[in-house]
């Protein structure tokens, strides 16, 4: 009865429209229109206060030749690569947690903690950890014999990677949770059958479990890469993109231009480019990870 009724509802075009309309309206007003507007502001010379002056594609042309923009784009892509690689680590942790070892329940909760903290709290926490003279990290390093541990957030060669670590830590809980749920969905009978056939736990993990959750894994690749490209929070709070742009990413550069330099036109153009870059990357990843058929056993 229920399913029947559902089909009836779904076959009525009006009902479908009615269902979609509220969300569609909200998305249009809150996301689509601002997107178009920011593309439009990108065509203007505008300080955010006075009159706008139409300058065509100048902002976009300047942006494409702006070494600082490309430097920040490089940083964003580095972050994307690191995040994508760390997915393997998350998966490994999830595989262990999903096995029936003792204490995994407790560990699972620990891994979830960073997900419950706000970005600003995480940033403040790691600022303290990285403090060059009183920070936990350098205190430990000094204790085990390093005389001059680096000033993590001040050294332009290190700062970017120093921020990657809390970012990777921040998202661990989220991805582990997704993998954990997917792994728990694998029918126990498959694993038991493999075990009877003499497969080792490692073989079960790599040849049965991982292929079965491949679709989930692909989705998380897209999520983590897109999320990294537009990443902003920790970097803004921990270094503000400094020293002198050494940890600048595209989103923080956009923010700096619009709200510190009062260059809203150029900032909007950078924002629009960020959108285009993210779109292109998403399409490419979808193409690369597309498969014809689902794996089934």
């Amino acid at each position: 009865m229920g399913l029947n009724c559902m089909n009836k509802v779904m076959s009525n075009k009006w009902i479908i429209t009615l269902y979609i309309l509220p969300a569609l309206l909200l998305i249009t007003i809150l996301i689509v229109i601002p997107l178009i507007l920011s593309g439009y502001f990108g065509l203007m010379k505008w300080d955010g206060i006075g009159a706008m002056e139409f300058i065509g594609l100048d902002n976009y042309i300047v942006a494409l030749q702006d070494s600082k923009f490309w430097q920040s784009a490089l940083h964003s892509f580095l972050l994307a690569i690191f995040s994508a690689l760390s997915l393997i680590g998350y998966l490994a942790v999830a595989l262990i947690l999903a096995s029936k070892l003792k204490g995994t329940n407790f560990l699972r909760k620990i891994y979830l903690i960073p997900m419950l903290l706000s970005s600003v709290a995480i940033a403040q926490l790691w600022i303290k950890v990285y403090n060059p003279s009183n920070g936990m990290l350098n205190s430990i390093l000094r204790m085990i014999g390093f005389e001059n541990p680096p000033a993590w957030l001040a050294d332009p060669n290190i700062v970017l990677y120093a921020i990657f670590i809390p970012i990777i830590w921040q998202y661990a809980g989220f991805y582990i949770l997704i993998y954990y749920a997917a792994l728990k969905n694998i029918p126990e009978s498959l694993i038991e059958a493999a075990r009877i056939d003499g497969a080792t736990p490692l073989q079960i993990a790599l040849k049965i479990k991982v292929p079965l959750i491949m679709n989930v894994f692909k989705v998380t690749i897209v999520l983590s890469i897109v999320g990294s490209l537009k990443y902003f929070d920790l970097i803004y709070v921990m270094t503000g993109g400094g020293p002198n742009g050494a940890s600048e990413v595209m989103a923080s550069y956009m923010y700096k231009l619009a709200f510190s330099s009062y260059n809203f036109g150029y900032g909007s153009a950078i924002g629009f480019l960020l959108l285009i870059i993210t779109l292109i990357v998403t399409v490419i990843i979808r193409k690369l990870t597309a498969t014809d058929e689902e794996i089934q056993y």
């Binding site: 206060i49 403090n131 000033a151 260059n263």
Partner: protein, 443 residues
Amino acid sequence: MRFKKAITFSVVLFILSLLLVACGGDDGDNGDTDSATSDTGSGNVKTVKFMHLWPEGSSAKHHQVVNEIIEEFEAENEDIKIDLEVLSNEQYKDKITVLSTSNELPDVGFTWAAGYMEPFVNGNKFAPLDDVVESDLADDFVAGTLEAFSVDDVTYGLPLELNISYIFYNKRIFEENGVEVPETLDELIEVAEVLNENGVTPIALGNRDAWTGSMWYMYLADRIAGDEDVLTKAIDREISFEHPALIQAGEELQRLVDAGAFVQGFNGLADEEAKSMFTSEQAAMYLIATWDLPNYTTNEDIPQEFRDAVDYFPFPTVNGSGDMTSYVGGPGVGLFVAENSDVKEEAKKFASFFVQQWGVKAVEDVGVIPATKVDPESLDLPQMYTDVLNDLNDATNITLYVDVQTSPSTAQVHLDMIQSLFGGEITPEEFAETHENTLASEE
């Protein structure tokens, strides 16, 4: 049955979403109708809209004094009513930008000097205030403060605060390590070396915020150039930024860095972190402006023991060159009157009244040094305030912070370059060249 429920549910959702949207739209319009009614007022009473950035929570004393001034003004002028709106600093900045785009600035509000207010002046948002200054406030302001709120010799803001910067130091740490207050840069470097040998951090500096490091650079440039204010001239394009004094300032700065004068990892520390190093006696010196005076005199949250140990000295000469009565500093906030205000005369009257009253109350009640002249003898103040006020009266020059003098986008370049100069990633020549190119491209 279920079908019906689904319909009702989706209709409710739809209406809710419409409501949401409608509410969003309504919010924006609210301000509009508000100001329209307040402009006309009831009867003969005129309403002046006033916005300030000292909320009760974070600036209790400021807030209270503002309210007192408003009460007095309303008592004296029964036909004028002040309509008050208070926001915190960052929110205030955001809101002012938005309001000015839609021509809805309050009749009287706060602005920052020079580069910050230029877009507003160019967009004809602020009213010229020369008439107010001439009739009510002539000779009231400390030299240089009014100029910072002027564009092309027309005054657009009435300054409220004035800060100059000093090197604050911990007397106890100095005594324990047997060092004296330095009078030249070489002596400062020697002090730093002695402190370093004894395992004490010489100078706390939070250069993530870069304006802190900028003050060090500015002082060095000021001392090296002597009487000539090369920084301001270079920014005004009278001379090139590649002036020898401006390059030498960079060299001396890197000499200080190489001598280990600053705390390790300063480029990654925020000013707040550096400040707490100084107040918790982990560092011996700290260059900051006089807005921090309460922390060294009256602020009960800071241990008495530390406050007793703090004193200040003016920035040393660069080995004899430079005038120690020349300061880096400048006015903080000032009052503007909106150009399109319907009650401009009343607004000007209030702004003028406010500045005069603030000048009387600021030091004693709030601990802020006003931009109007104060006679320290007439007030009961902590010794440090009296000293600073006397210094101010004897000041030969005040160079306004570079990041306030220049346009916001040049300021950003300056701050980025300061971090690189401190970090040793660029040479002083490259530092000067980048500034020269940026300033030249803006002409």
